[in-house]
């Protein structure tokens, strides 16, 4: 496993940095252009959540290697208010306008795996993984 890439998220420019780093990482792994965009978009979503709800946090990108598959792991971590109802946050209940909800179901569709760990009042960690086909 290679070194992690840590992108602190404090300003909106950081969102762009995080998704560019993510795109580059998966590009090196041979992800197609479309797949790169899916990953970059997912990173954009979770990074934006950090800014919107926790004001600051970090995105950690890690290259994964399992058997002969390569992949990326995206961890979006913050010490913000946490999510009161995680189960609800993971369902597609809300309208697609995106105003309500955190876009987590959407992010999961863009990636292969999503794990959510959150403690109200303490923070949230969203872990996403995507594997090269």
């Amino acid at each position: 496993m290679a070194a992690d890439i840590v992108v602190p998220i404090e300003h909106e420019q950081d969102i762009v940095m995080a998704r560019q780093q993510g795109r580059q990482l998966v590009a090196e792994m041979g992800f197609s252009s479309t797949e790169q965009t899916l990953v970059a978009t997912a990173i954009s979503e979770v990074a934006r959540n950090i800014l919107m709800y926790a004001r600051h946090g970090e995105i950690v990108l890690t290259a994964l290697q399992s058997e002969n598959r390569r992949g990326i792991e995206v961890v979006a971590r913050d010490e913000g208010p946490g999510i009161a109802n995680p189960a609800l946050a993971l369902t597609d209940g809300y309208s697609t306008s995106g105003r309500l909800g955190l876009g987590l179901p959407g992010a999961r569709r863009l990636m292969d795996e999503l794990d959510l760990a959150t403690v109200p009042g303490e923070g949230t960690t969203v872990t996403l993984r995507k594997w090269a086909p």
């Binding site: 420019q13 965009t37 569709r109």
Partner: protein, 128 residues
Amino acid sequence: MPVPILRQADLLVATIQASLSDQDLVRFRDDLAREIGRARSTGVVIDVTALDVLDSFASRVLRTIAHTARLRGATTVVVGIQPGVALAMVQLGVSLEGIPTALDFEDGIALLRGRRRKKAHEEGAHGG
């Protein structure tokens, strides 16, 4: 950096650069509202070819821009959504519902003109 808004007859055309900040987008919306009034435009073409990611935030802004334009009597068309970006938007579940889209600038203009023709035709047919 502000988004340049150009006039093409009675239409307005704007190309969004990749490095646009949130602030720039809001400024663009206001600039556009003003230009539409000034030019009495009936249509706006927004080219997003340079955007490599169109997330929920960006699409929300686009909808706001289109709504603002509509209030001023202009139809907005978004053009140039890239293949990967289109798929990402669909999977993410963001919607540009309400905003017509076209492949590129040329088709965007054609779409707006076609609608105008169609609308004029319908109004004419109803003895308007």
